[in-house]
Symmetry: C2
Subunit: 397 residues, 2 copies
């Protein structure tokens, strides 16, 4: 058995980012940029007024002065003339500053009447002007490659005049659920059978992680069915299996994939839940074999699949970053396996409180769904009392 | 001017959840459940083995005992007979426990040869069995209405045998960007003009908040154009405008919408950035008017639009929940307006450190895109030194 960290490192080391594609600006949201976004213009394009008021020469605008209004410059309609001594131009937020003016007197500080204004507060030189290029200039790198685009990045790319973006395509993750005992929701269930839940929860996690999920038909417990599933994954960037990763006679995933040339990299990790995780390759196709238990499968997906999708997407791909909480209940000494304990999170003025569920059976999906976090327990971690500090990761990142 | 809290409260008070729709299980991810998900079966359906091994009677299985293997029960293929004294059935994780057996001896603790096993470790009564209904029973409420569905909830609904879900439809948010100075990315830009960024950033934020964004054509600074935009928003659940919400002569949104019967609820909030926010109704259609500055528009969307979309979606809709950080730089006394200061976040062993950007001009979209958080400064908040505690909210929730 290898450690969680070693397993993740070995998986990530084999993966490289998928190629890029051109998408519309809107479709770039949450995608990972493959080519940097370079500013195609300067923003602001000229000195702009930051307020509604009057563009004028500060030297003319001491308190009490009167200035002639020679025109107006609505946003998008620059004033064509020039502001000379004793003159002012009506101006609005976002308007281009007229030639000759060096300051803006806000309208609250002026009284306008009969084509002239009276200055009620002495104007400060250069005040209320957004200088050309204050935000960015043509040629600036607005967003570097390798960043997952936020809503603000989409706005910034728009402001830089980009209707299209070059992003990594979404990694395609084929999911092959195996087992004679499972059927699809709403379909007939055999004696002692259960409904397949893993593929559906994993597909959602894949979507949330930036991947495209391909749910393959369920493969029964026969080598040929599993081999056919692997064939159906052609064109995927990763094959994910669930079930059949243990050591029983009916755990056929390794046997089924062997017929398609599976090269196993590792199998079994010193962790709980999820010990029988496996990783290998079918030719160039990476293959991650998750346990069949829904809790084990989800925890393994969080720890290994999510970073793998990130790496395929053009991000570094890292372990879920732990936060810290105080324990809401005591915990026993841990054994030699890294444990991931389902817990609820609450908070008070001193921060997070993580309370483990008393039952941690890996078949209990309802407990997983109700949990907020996994408390991380290193191998051989000592017993902890109520209130002691523990690291945790969130279940829905 | 009213406070941020009062403004949010008045917006939320007018909104009610949109109707439900039926979607496939996969499409339910991140949607808000309109009808509870009730378990349609019991899980596990029967007592199941939690391990690979042998189903037997614990009374027969002291260390050194020999038992006859009378059959096998692969998962999905229950053993039809009964286990009598001196007998065992080969069993696998997820297999139904055969009649007569009360315990599972894990395979690591047995030696199998010639159709019999020798017990190497005394078997504990009831060990390694998942009792029927341990996870849930038919009729249990698996997921209550009003919850935004996680990937684990999707798995749980699948396990409860639901191929379809009843969720609130995505609230439709129509976005009307206004201004003679703005044009679409990649299109011709007029003298002193800029590229429209607000609609695109807001559409992404709407998507992330669970809404469907409808970007209307840009309306120029004419009453008729703005009125036509309002007409095009027919069927939306909320009309969002950007720009034209200030007090200048060219701030025409109120005037344009007045021709369509705008009832203004409030206008101007004691906050920075974003003072000229307005809210009202066009008949039954709620209307939120955001400022034109990209930073102001985004901050207002985070504080008011996002909770509004949540309320429309069937969630309560609450203020962004603040976390706490130590300041990475000193801050001055605040004035009478609630301030929202763009900052970067880093962390050390003692938690988060928020460092405000030195320039906070509301035209600087690049600073917004590079920021991680907004430091919250209450009206009249006192000056703070480096290292003092401040509340913050994240920009990309």
């Amino acid at each position: 058995m290898i450690s969680v960290e070693e397993a993740r490192g070995r998986i990530l080391a084999t993966l490289t980012p998928v190629a890029g594609e051109t998408v519309s600006l809107a479709d770039g949201f949450r995608r990972v940029l493959a080519m940097p976004v370079i500013a195609r213009l300067t923003q602001p394009p000229a000195d702009l007024s930051a307020m509604d008021g009057y563009a004028l020469r500060a030297a003319d605008a001491a308190k009490g002065a009167a200035l002639k209004i020679i025109g107006a410059a609505p946003a998008g309609h620059p004033f064509a003339g020039s502001v000379n001594p004793g003159e002012a131009v009506r101006i609005f937020t976002g308007s281009v500053m007229p030639q000759g003016a060096d300051s803006v007197l806000i309208q609250e500080d002026a009284t306008a009447a009969c084509g002239a204004i009276t200055v009620n507060e002495t104007c400060i030189l250069g005040k209320h002007i957004r200088p050309a290029g204050q935000d960015f200039a043509t040629g600036d790198v607005l967003i570097p490659a390798g960043r997952r685009l936020t809503s603000r990045d989409i706005g910034l790319a728009a402001a830089g005049n980009h209707p299209w973006l070059n992003v990594h395509r979404r990694p395609r993750i084929a999911i092959l659920a195996t087992g004679d005992e499972i059927s699809l929701p709403g379909e007939a269930i055999g004696a002692g059978g259960i409904v397949s839940s893993n593929a559906h929860a994993l597909a959602a996690l894949i979507t949330a992680s930036g991947g495209d999920a391909l749910i393959l038909p369920i493969a029964g417990d026969e080598r040929a069915a599993i081999a056919a599933g692997a064939d159906a994954a052609k064109g995927a960037d990763l094959l994910l299996t669930t079930g059949g990763a243990s050591v029983g006679d009916h755990d056929l995933v390794q046997a089924g994939l062997a017929s398609r040339g599976l090269k196993l990299d590792f199998w079994k990790i010193a962790m709980r839940p999820g010990k029988p995780l496996m990783f290998g390759h079918l030719g160039a196709l990476p293959m991650l074999g998750l346990p069949g238990n829904p809790v084990s499968a989800f925890v393994c997906a969080l720890l290994f699949l999510r970073p793998a999708i990130e790496r395929l997407s053009g991000l570094p791909g890292v372990a879920p970053q732990p936060d810290f909480a105080r324990l809401g209940a005591a915990m026993k000494t841990n054994d030699q396996r890294a444990d991931h304990v389902r817990a609820t999170l609450t908070r008070d003025d001193n921060g997070w409180i993580a309370t483990p569920f008393p039952m941690q059976d890996s078949g209990m999906l309802r407990t997983l769904a109700r949990a907020d976090a996994l408390i991380l327990r290193a191998p051989h971690a000592p017993a902890l009392d109520f209130g002691q500090k523990v690291p945790f990761i969130r279940l829905e990142p």
